[in-house]
């Protein structure tokens, strides 16, 4: 173990993302009191179905988002302990075992439910009551998971943890493998037929929700919500494009801070205003020549799902070396990233297509196309792969992508191990030494070229 002085913080984070943080906090507070407000509550995973839930008059809890939030706030411990006691292996997707641990805790202490959650011995009463009180029990589950087979199985297990007493609906999302010669990003028969298939299932979901709620679905509200989301997504896209400038006015880490708003906040004017403010701040920085990383020297691409325990830490670590992480699969290729597909007057097809566009739902060939495209457009010097220990979906093609970036663009890359919601997998010394080595190799390359 080494003891070193805290490095100088060379980050210059967007100030507007704090507003987003408040919007997200307000959302969770509202969810935690949904039962008292007389709302029905849906637990869901995968693609952003929240506009449909909004139009159905429901409160919604995105399982991955909850796990990410707990990890980001260092509050994941009790849920993960409860999950471990229930029997979940520590190598299981940490999103799922954190969320399932919450389910176990949510059941704990319920006199009507004779289950292992009520006998958890490793989670203290204070934590148990705290978490159990915060996350309301679901009235139903909806699964909408693309890319990772574990996602669909996870909600099925939630259904079983609740003794099959909570109704569940599954949206099946075909993996965009690319069998045919015409297959590609946003094109080809596979894309078109999968889009129609998922849109048809969304109509079935809406009928099912009408049955569950006993209310007609508000199609006008869905259109209204998707109008706002489309506007917000366009502003986000425009803001991302501005970050192609050098030095970058905002980084991947700033955009990570804006994942929650675009991923699950209600579609409304506040959401549009937020992304307008983000874009305006970036535009203002460009005009004033303000960089997101003081003395930007390197531009990097980040592949991997976010290590939520380490968001601030990682942003400072890269900046300390003058490295601006300017793009990444989890940002450029996720979260309503193709707003032109959305027709607010008839939004289901465009929504279905975005669910299919999950960044883990493509074969390696398409991911190769997207990664190299972004590396070129953002003019990066190298790639950093977050080998996300319990996320097999994100890590699957990473070695292929690294090789392709080296072979086709001459870009070096490094891998470091961490995880989405389990800090124990993060190895700081490995990232530090590999990052320094890669940056030095970039220096050597530049020196030779000059």
């Amino acid at each position: 173990m080494t003891l070193t002085a805290a490095p100088t913080d060379r980050t210059n984070r967007l100030s507007t993302t704090r507003v987003g943080g408040q919007l997200v906090t307000d959302y969770w507070d509202d969810l935690f009191t949904a039962r008292e407000q007389g709302k029905q509550i849906v637990w869901y995973n995968g693609g952003a179905l929240n506009p449909i839930f909004q139009a159905a008059g429901l409160a919604w809890c995105h399982g991955e988002a909850l796990s990410a939030r707990l990890a980001a706030q260092r509050l994941e411990g009790p849920a993960q302990l409860a999950g471990a006691e229930y029997g979940y292996n520590s190598e299981l997707c940490s999103y799922s075992r954190t969320h399932l641990g919450c389910a176990v805790l949510t059941l704990g202490g319920d006199p009507l439910h004779d289950d292992p959650g009520s006998s958890t011995g490793v989670v203290g009463l204070h934590d148990r009551e705290n978490l159990a009180a915060k996350l309301p029990r679901p009235d139903f589950f909806v699964n909408n998971y693309a890319g990772c087979s574990t996602g669909q199985q996870w909600d099925e297990i939630s259904f079983r943890v609740f003794d099959k007493q909570v109704p569940i609906f599954n949206v099946s999302l075909p993996f965009l493998w690319g069998n045919k010669p015409d297959a590609g990003y946003l094109v080809g028969d596979e894309w078109e037929s999968a889009s129609r298939y998922v849109a048809d299932q969304l109509r079935e979901l809406i009928s099912w929700l009408e049955t569950q709620t006993g209310r007609p679905f508000d199609w006008d509200l869905l259109s209204e919500s998707m109008t706002y989301i489309k506007q917000a997504a366009e502003l986000r896209r425009e803001g991302l494009d501005l970050c192609k400038s050098s030095p970058a006015p905002a980084t991947f880490w700033d955009w990570i801070a804006s994942v929650a708003p675009i991923n699950f906040l209600p579609g409304n004017q506040a959401l549009v205003d937020y992304f307008q403010d983000v874009k305006d701040e970036i535009r203002g920085r460009l005009d004033a020549g303000v960089a997101a990383v003081e003395g930007e020297k390197y531009r990097l691409y980040f592949d991997g799902i976010m290590n939520w325990n380490k968001l601030g830490f990682l942003s400072r670590k890269f900046a300390e070396h003058g490295a601006a992480v300017v793009a990444g699969r989890y940002i450029q290729n996720a979260f309503w990233q193709e707003p032109q597909l959305i027709d607010p007057s008839d939004p289901l097809l465009g929504m279905a297509q975005h669910y299919l566009l999950c960044p883990t739902n493509h074969g390696a060939k398409t991911l190769d196309h997207l990664t190299l495209r972004d590396c070129e457009e953002y003019d990066v010097d190298g790639l950093v792969f977050h080998s996300t220990r319990t996320c097999r979906a994100f890590t699957g093609p990473q070695r292929l992508l690294a090789k392709s970036a080296q072979d086709k663009l001459g870009l070096p890359s490094i891998f470091f191990e961490g995880d989405v919601a389990d800090a124990s997998f993060y190895k700081d010394e490995i990232l530090e030494s590999r990052l320094v080595a890669m940056l030095e190799s970039i220096d050597v390359k530049r020196a030779r070229a000059s």
Binding site: N89, W154, E156
Partner: protein, 386 residues
């Protein structure tokens, strides 16, 4: 041919598929060999297209070059597949087809596709959410796609007549295998777990007609033997590839006798036949759906059936006194479902042991000790007069 030689031929096919496949090629000049990824691809269709569909096995060789292509926290089987791809060991197959959306399996298949871009590698994703009203229609659509792709791959039409013949051949082979498993559950100890694994793995590799001929010889030459007083154990897990043989041996050496299982190289493979009395395409669709009802798999979503419930019934049927879970390290569907299995067995007071298996470096003596402890627990539950 005598039963010893027949068994040896099956054992070789199971443990060294390449030798069988090369021999088959030599006997069938001009015909193609299709590698099939587990677990649900309808091989009947491929055989009807005139090709030999052979399920790709974990060849149990140490993972070398494949480590550079796939993360170390993928399961051993998929890392082995990546290694087979990296070292050219998949060259024995003219194409690879898969129907199962396991993200780890897709990851290794994509590596194979990237390394051999000219080789046909078709993925047709069979719907895994089987409780949906539209599931039968989607299954039928995918079966139709498989048929078209296989016709393109082989250059031969899949006629209904050839499909019926193919279905009958696989059914015949599965039925005979199933008889052995049913007899074991009813008290026969004619075959060791390793022998049964070889019999099933060879069925996954070979043409069903050739396999059946040899299996019949083996069965004719084997006498039924009865249970002794060893502790009766059910083996559960290993959903898509074989556990290492030495692990099966250690379990019986520790004082257990395996009476039933739900392993991929066991009952899970052979539990369901294809209906021969209805339209063959419809029958294949039903076969896929019924497989999960007959022996539930945690990779499928079907609310009305459960692996835990099936396991309790199986234990009751065979009289198993304990259950050993064989969980391949990093197998997410198994990790997710395991607590439900544990809960069910605990509620029925059935002793159980979880063994996490690795591709290499299995600590056998540690497993032996744990198996012995389980057996002691099971013995203590026997009535004093037994």
């Amino acid at each position: 041919m005598d039963s010893v030689r027949a068994l040896e031929q099956l054992r070789v096919a199971a443990r060294n598929p390449r030798s069988y496949l090369e021999g088959w090629r030599a006997r069938h000049r001009g015909r193609r060999v299709l590698g099939v990824m587990p677990m649900n691809f309808p091989r009947e269709l491929a055989r009807a297209a005139g090709v030999l569909p052979s399920i790709v096995q974990d060849d149990q060789r140490p993972i070398g070059e494949g480590r550079a292509l796939i993360a170390e926290f993928y399961c051993g089987f998929t890392r082995n597949l990546a290694d087979q791809a990296a070292t050219g060991r998949l060259d024995i197959y003219d194409g690879i087809f898969t129907a199962d959306h396991c993200i780890q399996l897709l990851g290794s298949t994509d590596i194979a596709r990237t390394l051999e871009p000219e080789k046909p590698m078709f993925f047709g994703m069979l719907i895994s959410s089987l409780s949906d009203a539209w599931a039968p229609r989607k299954i039928a659509e995918m079966m139709g796609q498989f048929r078209e792709e296989l016709e393109r791959f082989s250059g031969e039409p899949v006629t209904d007549e050839r499909l019926r013949d193919s279905i009958a051949a696989y059914n015949q082979d599965r039925r005979l295998l199933r008889r052995l498993f049913d007899e074991r559950a009813a008290g026969s100890t004619a075959y060791s777990p390793v022998e049964l694994q070889d019999l099933v793995a060879s069925a996954q590799v070979m043409d069903p007609g050739e396999h059946y001929e040899l299996l019949e010889v083996v069965v004719r030459g084997r006498e039924r033997t009865s249970l002794d007083d060893r502790v009766r154990v059910h083996l559960s897990g290993h959903l898509c590839h074989a556990p290492r043989r030495e692990l099966l041996e250690v379990i019986e050496e520790a004082g257990a006798v395996v009476v039933d299982d739900d392993l991929w190289t066991g009952r899970r493979y052979l539990q369901t036949d294809v209906d021969e009395d209805i339209d063959p395409m419809e029958a294949l669709g039903r076969w896929y759906a019924e497989r999960n009802a007959n022996l539930p798999c945690p990779t499928r979503v079907q609310h009305e059936v459960g692996w835990d419930e099936w396991l309790l019934e199986a234990v009751s049927r065979s009289g198993a006194e304990a259950v050993i879970h064989l969980m391949p390290k990093f197998c997410e569907p198994h990790m997710l479902y395991y607590p439900e299995l544990r809960r069910a067995l605990d509620s029925a007071d059935v002793p159980q042991l979880l063994i996490e298996t690795e591709h290499e470096g299995i600590p056998l003596e540690s497993f032996r000790t744990r198996a012995e402890a389980l057996i002691e627990r099971a013995l203590r539950k026997r009535p004093a007069y037994a």
